[in-house]
């Protein structure tokens, strides 16, 4: 491993100033659960590590209809949040599916997103909740839909002098339910072979008013299946339409073959996971209406 310098700024401004001065030699570190193995294997060799650990980015709060999650919130903190359990159960389930406690105690939501792994467990639920991210630099900030942050495996639109400071998610409308399912080689410590998150919002007549279907590990980046979503919208929920939407999601996925699974297997599993997730989501809506 190289021997980078280390700096833990006390404020976001101080962090941004440092990044602006350093340009490409600096790398942001938070939990380090992805970055440190990469540095140790020589895949990354930054000259300076800018540690976000002293920045006040560990909030989980609802303000004027939006959930705000600081980038430094850990997977364990997501798991322990009652607020998230009530409004965003798919996000909590995804955090539970990540690795084991020692990793969940260090790894952060910001890191999970910004590493832009196609297999990032938190991405599909955040996509079905229509999450946006706040990207800040010294003289400007921009708010970007999560789907537009990713440009490819491990790549995002974040520039080297910019920090993802916060994730914002609208409060789900009434009659909304959501779910996350993950297929891994085993229950713990496994990177997803494929994952799916779904959200259904019903109107007063029990018709699907809004549908979201997001997939992990089956495309160069976490993706939404727009075809499956538009198929579901305006229909009454039911197994037949779920099976059809799952088939469309499978067609829209573009997985690769790697050490975890073949592309063909992944494509088939997308159909299974999406159907199961929609079924589970619908099941929750049924329970609420009773």
């Amino acid at each position: 491993m190289g021997k980078p310098d280390y700096f833990a700024p006390q404020t976001v401004d101080e962090a941004l100033e440092t990044l602006a001065k350093q340009s490409s030699g600096a790398k942001i570190i938070a939990g380090g659960t992805d970055l440190i193995p990469r540095m140790r294997s020589g895949m990354m060799n930054p000259a300076l590590l800018v540690d976000l650990c002293r920045l006040p980015l560990n909030h989980i709060e609802i303000k004027s209809g939006w959930l705000h999650i600081g980038a430094r919130v850990t997977h364990s903190e997501i798991l322990e949040s009652e607020l998230l359990a009530v409004h965003y159960p798919a996000l909590v389930e995804a955090a539970r599916a990540i690795a084991g406690p020692p990793i969940r105690n260090r790894g952060t939501i910001g890191g999970n997103i910004i590493n832009a792994s196609p297999a990032a467990d938190l991405a599909p639920p955040l996509l079905v909740y229509d999450a946006i991210v706040l990207l800040v630099k010294a003289d400007a900030e921009r708010v970007v839909p999560l789907a537009e942050l990713f440009t490819g495996p491990g790549r995002t639109i974040l520039s080297s002098d910019e920090i993802l400071t916060e994730i914002r998610v609208p409060l789900p409308p009434p009659d909304t339910a959501s779910n996350f399912v993950k297929l891994g080689k085993r229950k713990a410590m496994a990177i997803a072979v494929a994952s799916a998150a779904t959200r259904l919002t019903l109107d007063g007549d029990g018709i699907i008013f809004q549908a979201r279907v997001a997939l992990g590990s089956v495309a160069p980046k976490p993706m939404r299946s727009i075809g499956a979503e538009s198929l579901l919208q305006g229909k009454a929920p039911g197994m037949e339409i779920f099976t059809e939407a799952a088939r469309v999601a499978s067609l829209e996925s573009s997985p690769i073959t790697d050490l975890r699974a073949s592309a063909e297997y992944r494509k088939k599993m997308v159909a299974v996971l999406v159907r199961r997730s929609l079924e589970a989501t619908w099941g929750q809506l049924g329970m609420e209406n009773q």
Partner: protein, 185 residues
């Protein structure tokens, strides 16, 4: 690269280490502080052989930079026994044959210790989750889970009889820390 001074506590003793900031906590524990309980096996957070408790939470010490340990309270497996008496977790690991080669044991113990700190009455499922980041390749997990269950029962019984098993609050912890001179490495 500039060396930095990092101050933290290990097993309730304050320490100061002058070091390169990007060394891992595991390296410093083993090479500088000569605490060889935490092991390096995979070196990337998959196996849990290096687990220590940092500010009350189980962490992979191979994935914590020493600079990130500034101000932290670290407990390693060496800190479990008190006054020459093994911690109930250690006793029950022995009784239940939860050790074989022993390579995973210190990490398993520390994951179990972190679990019992926040959840004195864990279910079997919660125990499984707590050690899901720790790999054992010889004894098997059954004996380990039984040892943790027995320890929880044991600790709960003691805490209902006496007060000395109650969790240390941050304040208690610092009071106890105050009695030790800082060790410089």
């Amino acid at each position: 690269m500039t060396e930095i001074m990092v101050r933290f506590t290990v097993n309730k003793r304050p320490v100061s280490v002058k070091t390169e900031p990007s060394r891992t906590l595991l390296n410093v524990l083993r090479d500088d502080l000569k605490l060889k309980g935490a092991k390096e096996a995979c070196g990337q957070g998959d196996c849990g052989a290096c687990v220590v408790v940092m500010d009350g939470k189980a962490v992979n010490s191979c994935l914590v930079l020493i600079a990130q340990a500034e101000g932290a309270d670290i407990i390693t497996v060496e800190g479990l026994a008190e006054n020459g008496k093994l911690h109930p977790l250690q006793e029950h690991f022995i009784e239940n044959w939860a050790f074989q080669c022993g390579y995973c044991a210190s990490g398993m113990l520390m994951s179990a210790y972190a679990l019992l700190l926040k959840n004195p009455n864990p279910t079997r499922e919660e125990i499984q989750d707590a050690i899901s980041g720790n790999l054992c390749r010889c004894t098997g997990y059954h004996e380990i889970m039984e040892a943790i269950e027995a320890s929880a029962a044991d600790l709960n019984m003691k805490s209902s009889n006496t007060c000395d098993q109650k969790k240390l609050s941050k304040g208690d912890m610092h009071e106890r820390l105050g009695n030790h001179p800082t060790e410089i490495y």
